[in-house]
Symmetry: C2
Amino acid sequence: MYEVLRTEGRAKRARLKTVHGLIETPVFMNVGTAGAIKGGISSPELKGLKTQVELCNTYHLHVRPGDEVVKKLGGIRKFMNWDGPVLTDSGGFQVFSLAKLRKIKEEGVTFHSHVDGRKIFMGPEESMKIQSNLGSTIAMAFDECPNALAERSYVEESVDRTTRWLSRCKTELKRLNALPDAVNPDQLLFGINQGAVYDDIRIRHAREIAELDLDGYAVGGLAVGETHEQMYHVLDQVVPYLPKDKPTYLMGVGTPENIIEGVYRGIDFFDCVYPSRNGRHGHAYTNRGHLNLLNAKYELDDRPIDPECGCPVCRSHSRAYIRHLLKANEILGMRLLVMHNLYFYNNLMEEIREALDEGHFESYRRMRLGTLAENVGKH
Amino acid sequence: MYEVLRTEGRAKRARLKTVHGLIETPVFMNVGTAGAIKGGISSPELKGLKTQVELCNTYHLHVRPGDEVVKKLGGIRKFMNWDGPVLTDSGGFQVFSLAKLRKIKEEGVTFHSHVDGRKIFMGPEESMKIQSNLGSTIAMAFDECPNALAERSYVEESVDRTTRWLSRCKTELKRLNALPDAVNPDQLLFGINQGAVYDDIRIRHAREIAELDLDGYAVGGLAVGETHEQMYHVLDQVVPYLPKDKPTYLMGVGTPENIIEGVYRGIDFFDCVYPSRNGRHGHAYTNRGHLNLLNAKYELDDRPIDPECGCPVCRSHSRAYIRHLLKANEILGMRLLVMHNLYFYNNLMEEIREALDEGHFESYRRMRLGTLAENVGKH
């Protein structure tokens, strides 16, 4: 079901066949936290933005509208009217970053909802149950995501628990998939490598989880405080110990540069809130760096955000118009920027795949890292 | 350029040919206050919602981004990327409702901007200049819009001034249209009838402005405090005194029922913020009354907003999903409701035109007023 089509150094051009369609990798998943891309973009519109996979948040959907509600409505894909693949995270990251007053035990984590403060317990079994109810294409294992800069002793203890949790996730999802009312009986499970910036812990953990023969492997706990160099170093160290015949996923990363460097180090899957979050604040990505459309210099600029871009926004709207909308607090301004930025990220992945297909990823990488550094908005 | 195709009682099925395209009437204009429909809908998307005419606000665009900016960018239609007709209001209504500390003189009105408090003067010539810079298809005359329940003596004085202002508007727009750099040298001018709820003042004013041979005539100052019955009474009284061979426009009105009753009394053009404003608050219009999607009973309702509706939203999304989006403060929820509501209004107008074309408007009117009263949301 996962096929590597071509490699160049550690970079892989691959394909993951799922019951919800083919995923061509390297791929950037578009983040639809609560069942919708922030910025007002509907599922049918994502096709025009070259989106392959939507990523939804288990924690958010469990809290609201509730995974039982989503199951009754036919699962997250039917709920959102998205017919492509969906990856759900495990809820772990949100539990450890958003929720308040959490308490970690061997069984799992008790915490208070950020919406209404009610007490929730989530462990590996609960996370698998919620993701099974959501019926995503790919479920993520429930892990603890320690701070990248946490103490070694804490990280060791946490990673060992995450390994035990992973075994429980595998057992539980197998059981849930076999139930007659499973929304997606073919739901896949990806494990998550942790270990902060400690090479030996990362590598030991990678070896341990590789033995579990999961459907894919993520590198978690990065892009949460360490430098880019530390992130690249971890990837250099750990990716060689993840199974070559399984997809790899760098969670929550990152800038266009980070993604290119991640592909270079053997990563297939990426996700990040940057294109939508930064779009909502006036930032537009281009192949020549980014622009801030709130800048006064765009007041009379009738060019599209990126004259080289083929997205629906650049085909129809000027910088001046989008700037006006942002200044006037018209939702449309944010929405157009988010659409452009998602297209930019998805199109970047398409370029990367084409470069790999044609065997010149390394020259593409150098060229693109160069143009991205031009920072067109500064001129 | 204005052709009445058919009549039934006072109701008219007509057509206004403009340099920016044909307008089939009765028509509902979609309100894009600051150059965008509130709720994040772009101009290209309006075609799929059966929109014929966009209405933009002179006051808002003058304050931000500035009409000179819009002119430099090719006019409001190019700015918004809308290739159909645009009507701009005169700014008068906003000056009298939004702005602070206003002072009315024969020359015009001095007021403070609601955005930055700066002092602005607007009179007939200034309003025409701004609308000429925006280059709309139809400009509205600068008038004073007295409260529908204002004292008789104040209304008399105000209406006389509005008549004098109207003559100045006509002279000034003629001059501006003849300038070599006019954005739209064929810009049309509609006059506005005022007189609050005083029949004799309304009728006298209608007779006076009819003599000015303008491109169309609006009834203003309604839907601002009087009852529906008072509004219908004013229309019954005044429309017969407006030229039959010119389009009529009932400004800022209203509910689906108001529109049907307006058409019945001879009105061609309507505009109202209801479909977008109410959509942003969870209200959806249907042929069987309205729903409030925030209601808990829609939590598991997988039907579209209106199973009889052919809009892009009803073809793709369920009540349960939209309700979830609204509860989760996802912009997409608002946006989908605004899209549905605009389609509902535009489609209602299409139904009205078809009924007039086929000569059974009266039976359509009775049928539709009946179904609208069903109030499906109550059941």
